[in-house]
Symmetry: C3
Subunit: 218 residues, 3 copies
């Protein structure tokens, strides 16, 4: 069943992103494993809590934990040798977000929520694991970093999943199209290096820079 | 209905505080929006999860998301030009905490919880969004910072809301008095610059300072 | 009843660890109290949310809050005078994790979950409060730090609790053995200073070091 398969794939992608950051942060093997498992399973747990599914599906068997563990082990032994770690994490994160946004939205529809709730729960499923990962390693989440635009592609993909399923396209096409749009949109953003505007300055830069220092000191 | 109106106001206040920190951290427009939305909606989601309301109310419509978005947009275009950013965030945070402590407590009573549970759920609703905001931007939360005393006014406001409603004062007066006391109490703390005691030293300061360095190094 | 008693003991241990970190970070008395309460009660709230117990047990009375408050007060006035703060936190954390892993697992069994779910919910109960504590004070959690191996002893203790109870050993022996193994295992790790392997290097160290800088800069 496609929903289950894509869900495993999402867990593997997120777990790999967590493991890779663990390698980069020089954690030991247990730290890497813990980070990978929390990153891989976090989104699904958030989804089930929002849907009132208790205990969450992840807790009912060893499958999800095993997928995350295998993914972490592969990264541990074969992590990229060249300096592309940061971009690799970003691509894995983009893939995980896209898969979880689509599968989360479809799972929510199956659970009987409204289309709006399904789309928003899909987004939350997509973002949950990555937030947990970045907060645990004490970094500002990718989610709000400049030039990443993480939430918008997730919202587009989740909304498309809900729309395709609701318009009679069937769950398989909904998942495939939702994932493809969410992933493609975000990769496009990263590849083109689109930068989004910051808040208007409203004063001279020197003034702002001074204010920044005041804030940091305050 | 007053409960709904004050709830929107709380979302707007918290979303503005998140957006303002996003501006200060030089996030781009999407990062600012994401941070504002998570800050504005976080407390209400925590409340509904604690009450077993699934999916949380926020996920069932666009209203809350729209309020947070509009609030973020206003901050984005008209954020304060002068160096008062940090205090503005604190006042918005104080207002959001007060509103959510009162509305969270009243929502919990309406859901049939005990008075004690209602007061504590009110506090959690008030604190949830701000914790999420500060953790996401990688700062020690206002909640535990010295001289802020965030939790005590929230507890006072939530408890008063529960008491007024329980003693027959009606929900409107409960909300108004609870919010006013929680907000006024915290503003008073900030305005007077009341400082609370730290742990007794128990040794000479030089010794402590050396220990601090050891800990930081350890 | 042993389950209740050990649960209070777990809350006290975690609250003390939170309060001690608060003292070390020079928070004021309200910050210390808030951090202690969130650390002490966080794991139990996570457990109840995963089990669908709403509102969580902690919110239904003052008992847990009082235990955490008393524990924080003791630390506040009698915190260790010598430089052993970091190790004391680690031992309290180990004790709290062990107690909550065992009591969390048993509570889950009583709530009717499968043995697998009970073990995993026990682990989550044990880890929840400490994650919250470390994230709030803006530190990389003990959970993933090198040489701590936090999750493995918790998993061993929770699984043993489930096994002993399932094999007819009764809840009391399940709790005692589960706690003892989880605590003894982790203390052994800390005492022997066992270090776990990091990811294989795969290149020259100079190259890796350069890459680390690139990542930090990127």
């Amino acid at each position: 069943m496609l929903l289950t398969a894509l869900n495993y794939l999402g867990i593997a992608a997120f777990a790999a992103s967590g493991a890779l950051i663990g390698v980069r942060k020089r954690l030991d093997v247990f730290g890497i494993w813990t980070l990978a498992v929390l990153t891989g399973l976090g989104g699904g747990v958030a989804r089930d809590i929002l849907l009132g599914v208790t205990p969450p599906v992840t807790f009912k068997g060893w499958e999800n934990l095993t997928v995350a563990t295998v993914s972490a082990a592969i990264v541990f032994f074969f992590h990229p040798q060249v300096g592309a770690v940061r971009r690799t994490v970003d691509v894995l994160d983009a893939f995980g977000v896209a898969l979880f946004a689509a599968t989360g939205a479809l799972t929510a529809i199956h659970a009987g929520t409204s289309p709006i709730a399904a789309a928003l729960i899909g987004v939350t499923t997509g973002l949950g694991g990555g937030i947990l990962r970045d907060v645990l390693v004490n970094e500002v989440p990718l989610l709000i970093q400049s030039g990443e635009m993480v939430a918008i592609p997730a919202l587009a993909g989740a909304a498309l999943t809900v729309a395709v399923d609701g318009l009679g396209g069937g769950p398989d096409w909904a998942l495939i199209l939702g994932t493809a749009v969410a992933f493609g949109f975000r990769i496009l953003v990263m590849w083109r290096g689109w930068t989004a505007p910051r808040a208007p300055d409203g004063g001279c830069s020197a003034h702002r820079r001074r204010r920044g220092r005041d804030d940091a000191a305050g």
